[in-house]
């Protein structure tokens, strides 16, 4: 079956055979245990290498304690491990001012933090908030809700037909009344890599806050957040080989210092009076309560692992697999690949197959061990503009190789034939 399909693609078997994975599959316990699994849903969450699981276990077996508040050595060791993880992750992300990296549960919480704490204090009635049509709900709904709460205007920058942002149109939307420009680094639904510098420029011209959703940026691109020039950058550790519950927000120190805190409780206070409370310094001001220490420790191990793979190799690897998948899928009758050309995207391939519903398609693929996502990808506003109800999405990461592309194409073709009746 696979032979039959592949013979119709433009990518030769030889070329495909040449694409080995960037990371050894054996480093990933789940993938090693399920050799026939083609895990193509890394944009949703990634599998974890053994080193990450070991780092978490080792933390609990050797230094677990509540950090910051204990004078005893175990607590000091936990504090140190937590701090050291922050230093390593900041370095990985290219953030020089370590304490401006705030740990959160992930991208969603980071963006809510900005929209709530900064937004409520700075966005007023009559102001404007600009987002793009590509946004994940996490970078759309909090801004929509903020706008409606304070009486600001909520405006959506539209796309070109190929799924890239219409920058000219967007520039016209970013008026002097604009207080926030919120945009994704890389689209999770189409894979589009957005031109951060241009968009930051628009925001800077009018003094608006440039907020970048880096959920699909940090895991894949060799970035330095400091050089991106954004005011706020949100990311999720679980999408970059780290544990669930890890992630963060990088934000300019001056903004973090001026804005009110987000959550309140232990660790984030300086003095709690009966009437009035003052806040602790960064990063503590934004990390209320007992921190999830294992999360950054696991994530730091993931960062080290990615660094060892060669940061610059990740995007190239994914892009090559995505390009091969696009070519293979395009050969299958009825398949439409959505979004920009391979050189303007990350390792995400979203497509439709005639009138086969993505839910059915992904169910068929699953029977062949091919794990893809079917649905609106938390991007309903984008689905409306594309005039599709849902898509099927394959996303590649460091552990994928040519066999995954091959299995995907073969399985889609088999489903096509089945549904054609």
């Amino acid at each position: 079956m696979s032979r039959q399909t592949m013979s119709r693609t433009r990518v030769s078997d030889a070329e495909l055979a040449g694409m080995t994975s960037l990371a050894p599959r054996s480093d990933f316990p789940l993938l090693a245990a399920q050799p026939h699994l083609h895990y193509l849903d890394s944009a949703a969450t990634t599998q974890k290498p053994r080193v990450v699981l070991d780092a978490i276990t080792r933390y609990y077996e050797t230094v677990n304690a509540n950090p910051h508040r204990g004078a005893y050595r175990l607590s000091a060791a936990a504090t140190e491990a937590y701090h050291h993880a922050r230093v390593r992750i900041a370095k990985f992300l290219g953030v020089a001012d370590v304490d401006t990296l705030i740990f959160t549960r992930g991208t969603t919480e980071s963006l809510n933090l900005v929209a709530s704490a900064w937004g409520r204090a700075n966005v007023k009635a009559g102001d404007r908030i600009v987002v793009t049509r590509l946004e994940h709900h996490a970078n759309f709904v909090p801004w929509q809700a903020l706008a409606s709460a304070v009486g600001a205007e909520f405006v959506i920058a539209e796309l070109h037909a190929d799924g890239t942002i219409d920058l000219d149109a967007m520039a016209r939307l970013v008026t002097p009344r604009t207080k926030v420009v919120a945009f994704g680094h890389v689209s999770n639904a189409l894979g589009t890599v957005n031109p951060v510098a241009e968009i930051v420029g628009m925001a800077q011209r009018v003094g608006a806050l440039a907020v970048c959703d880096g959920a699909q940026g940090a895991p894949h691109l060799d970035i330095s957040v400091d050089s991106l020039g954004v005011d706020a950058y949100a990311f999720s550790g679980h999408k970059m080989l780290g544990p669930m519950g890890s992630g963060g927000l990088v934000m300019r120190r001056a903004l973090l210092e001026q804005m009110p805190p987000y959550q309140m409780g232990g660790d984030m206070i300086a003095h709690v009076g009966d009437e009035h409370t003052t806040w602790n310094v960064l990063p503590h001001k934004f990390e209320a309560g007992t921190p999830n220490v294992e999360a950054p420790i696991g994530l730091a191990a993931a960062c080290d692992y990615l660094t060892a793979l060669g940061r610059g190799n990740v995007l190239a690897h994914e892009r090559a697999l995505a390009a091969q998948a696009m070519a293979a899928l395009a050969e299958i009758p009825g398949v439409t690949v959505l979004g920009p050309p391979a050189n303007r995207r990350g390792g995400v391939v979203s497509f439709t197959l005639a009138d086969v519903h993505p839910h059915d398609l992904s169910q068929m693929l699953d029977a062949d061990g091919v794990c893809v996502r079917a649905g609106h990808h938390c991007a309903q506003p984008l689905m409306r503009a594309l005039n599709v109800h849902a898509t099927t999405r394959a996303s590649f990461y460091v552990y994928n190789d040519a066999s995954d592309v091959e299995a995907l194409a073969a399985s889609v073709d088999a489903a096509r034939r089945k549904f054609a009746g």
């Binding site: 519903h357 839910h359 059915d360 649905g375 109800h389 849902a390 089945k418 009746g421």
Partner: protein, 157 residues
């Protein structure tokens, strides 16, 4: 393809998916309700024209996977002409069938038995029952929108 998958996508299901029955608006409907599956975003509307206690006409329209479309299509075929009470009974029987709790009643389900393959795929139970929830809401004048999540027990998540 696995035997379970073959059973899920029987050719009668695929046929209904390709050419759904009663897939149309109903301007003279006496009741209608929407069904929404918030996790996958599927949605459909079911229209009813009641004649006293009996279902004179029933139709549907919407977005959905093969399972939800085929289930809706077959539903319109068997419910048409039934009494309110019989339609309720069918709801219960189909629900039991797709959640794998079907007993003797299955004998009376006829073509609907093609939906039995769903019981092996807990995530698809919502797809198969979406139209049925909407039908029941319309039948009892609840109207508005029902979501399969609110329907409790059948959820796999």
């Amino acid at each position: 393809m696995s035997a379970e998958l073959e059973e899920l996508y029987q050719s009668i299901i695929l046929d209904h998916n390709r050419r759904p029955k009663n897939f149309r608006d109903m301007p003279d409907a006496t009741a209608h309700a929407d069904g929404v599956n918030p996790l996958c975003g599927d949605q459909l509307t079911v229209w009813l024209r009641m004649d006293g206690e009996s279902v004179a006409d029933i139709s549907f329209r919407g977005q959905g996977c093969a399972i939800s479309k085929a289930s809706a299509s077959m539903m319109t075929q068997v419910v048409k002409g039934k009494s309110r009470a019989d339609a309720d009974k069918l709801f219960d029987d189909v629900h039991a069938l797709v959640t794998g709790r079907a007993g003797a009643q299955a004998a009376e389900l006829g073509a609907l038995k093609a939906l039995s393959g769903v019981s092996k795929f807990p995530l698809r139970v919502k797809c198969a029952s979406l139209a049925w929830h909407a039908m029941r809401a319309a039948l009892h004048g609840a109207g508005g929108s029902v979501t399969t999540d609110q329907s409790g027990g059948e959820s796999a998540s």
